[in-house]
């Protein structure tokens, strides 16, 4: 598995070379969103109040940010689970021209299909380590703060080599966790056997 230190905004070339399981660190401009923002844009018909042309890394995250002496200070940051945003995933990749989504877990098939078409990847963390990241993130600005609140707003971050993140959806739409699922399923069979649970065990149907 290769390790890359990428600089956003990301080019097609930057992301097309990434393979499942590769480790990436990211620098440069990114923005955050949670479901409330996607709902606001895609379901409620509002337009994004900023351009994503030079900000094509999206982080699924609701950070803790406080204002001190007129400046924003990031108190805590951890990518949140992407899978719950699947409803708007493909649209986000398509309409916001994203090259990378950073989030815990992964995205579903529809988003993966769009990632293949538009050349975008999903990467996820391998630790819960906010303190190893917050010093490397500068809070630049915030949009939709009044409309969506502190956590669901779109925060503009400048990242300084934050990671490691693992590539879990590549630009061919393949998913790292699919292969892992097969291995886990195999081991699950062995575990069940060891516990004396028959291969064809069926629950007595109560409802």
């Amino acid at each position: 598995m290769a390790e890359y230190h990428l600089k956003a905004p990301l080019t097609e070339e930057d992301v097309c070379k990434l393979k499942l399981g590769d480790i990436v660190y990211i620098s440069g401009e990114a923005f955050t969103c949670r479901s409330r923002l996607q709902k606001y844009i895609f379901d409620e018909g509002n337009t994004l109040p900023f351009s994503t042309a030079d900000r094509n890394v999206l982080i699924h995250n609701g950070p803790i940010v406080v204002k001190e002496d007129g400046k924003w200070r990031l108190v805590s940051f951890m990518p949140t689970s992407s899978i719950r945003f699947e409803k708007w995933g493909a649209k986000s990749v398509d309409e916001w021209n994203l090259r990378m989504i950073v989030g815990k877990t992964t995205m579903g098939d529809e988003t993966a299909k769009m990632m293949k078409e538009k050349k975008c990847v999903h990467v996820s963390p391998r630790s819960v380590s906010p303190n190893l990241w917050i010093d490397s993130i500068e809070v630049q600005d915030v949009y939709l703060y009044d409309e969506l609140g502190r956590i669901e707003a779109a925060w503009f971050f400048k990242l300084n080599d934050i990671g490691p993140f693992i590539v879990d959806i590549d630009t061919e739409g393949n998913n790292y966790f699919d292969a892992l699922d097969v291995e886990i399923a195999k081991r699950r069979e062995t575990s069940m056997e060891e516990l004396g649970i028959e291969h064809d065990f069926e629950f007595t149907k109560l409802y």
Binding site: R36, R126, S127, I166, E183, R188, L195, F201, F203, L206
Partner: protein, 305 residues
């Protein structure tokens, strides 16, 4: 009579400690997991998590950006007297949560289930949640647990009635299937502290599972060998699956499997799981009748475990 300002301060400190300091038993479990991990990326992930958690204590910031559902457990002495009574205890707990949110130890995470309204202080209908247990004595033990959204939302918390015909095999299959599905891609933030409730009505089983996940000391065992065996068998089985930290492969998928039980109806066995995430946040303190306070290493909610 325990004064309001005494218990209010203990409530606040317990919330703060729960949000910002890793419990010693969870820390021990992390160190063991790091030592035996054979997957280098998983080893790094566990070490980075532990490193960050140690930094949280010094920096007094949250262990994770998701500061969870605020939940209180009170183990109350039968002769415990509180100034203002228990209504005031709950009011003080709400004030403590609001203050901890204002100070940035908690993120404003609780919102209205339908409108999405964010009160900004984690206080709302039935939140925080309170659970009581009554024992001999005249003091009170206060535990705060913060149940992470990942650990609760992705199928780590489930319920099924298992027929007596299916017995332990049915229970174990239910647990393994639930855990594998919920840990996919790291949804429940494994390695988990998996709580299992067996017996009672569905809500009794679910509460036991949650308490087993959030309050039992990691590394403790059920005193009844029958239940201890289920804990041990499932701990081994789940850790052999290769799910690993955040579900991306590794040797440790659960830090502990804790089972608690209640008697059940002859018609069936309610069985519930509750998965706590790797950071397994909680903190406890005891207030004696004379107002003196002792920090507790773990809640000891189930007698000595």
């Amino acid at each position: 009579m325990i004064k309001t300002d005494v218990y209010e301060q203990v409530l606040f400190e317990t919330v703060k400690r729960g949000a910002t300091e890793i419990s010693p038993d969870v820390r021990d479990a992390f160190e063991k997991a790091i030592a035996k991990e054979t997957n280098p990326d998983a080893k790094n992930g566990l070490a980075a998590t532990l490193n960050s958690m140690d930094m949280s204590k010094k920096r007094e910031n949250p262990l994770c950006v998701d500061t969870g559902w605020p939940i209180f457990y009170f183990k109350v002495g039968n002769n415990c007297e509180l100034e203002g009574g228990f209504v005031e205890l709950e009011n003080a707990a709400r004030r403590a949560v609001a203050r901890a949110t204002e100070k940035g130890y908690l993120r404003a995470t609780m919102k209205h289930p339908l409108t999405g309204f964010d009160p900004g202080n984690n206080i709302g209908m039935n939140i925080p949640d309170f659970t009581y247990q009554f024992v001999d004595g005249d003091g009170i033990e206060i535990s705060y647990a913060a149940k992470g959204g990942g650990s609760e939302c992705f199928g780590g918390t489930r319920h099924r009635i298992v027929a007596f015909a299916d017995g332990i095999k049915g229970i174990e299959k239910f647990v393994i299937d639930s855990f594998v599905a919920s840990a996919r891609a790291g949804a429940v933030c494994p390695p988990s502290v998996l709580g299992i409730g067996i017996g009672g009505t569905a809500n009794v089983a679910a509460n036991l599972a949650k308490e087993a996940a959030c309050l039992r000391e990691v590394g403790s065992h059920h005193p009844d060998p029958m239940f201890a065996k289920i804990e041990e068998d499932l701990y081994k089985a789940l850790n052999s699956l290769g799910i690993g930290i955040l579900g991306s492969g590794g040797d440790t998928s659960v830090l502990a499997v804790n089972v608690e039980y209640a008697y059940t109806h002859i018609a069936g066995i309610a069985c519930a799981t509750s998965t706590n995430c790797m950071i397994a946040r909680r903190a406890s303190a005891r207030i004696n009748a004379d107002g003196t306070v002792t920090k507790m290493r773990s809640p000891m909610w189930f007698g000595d475990r």
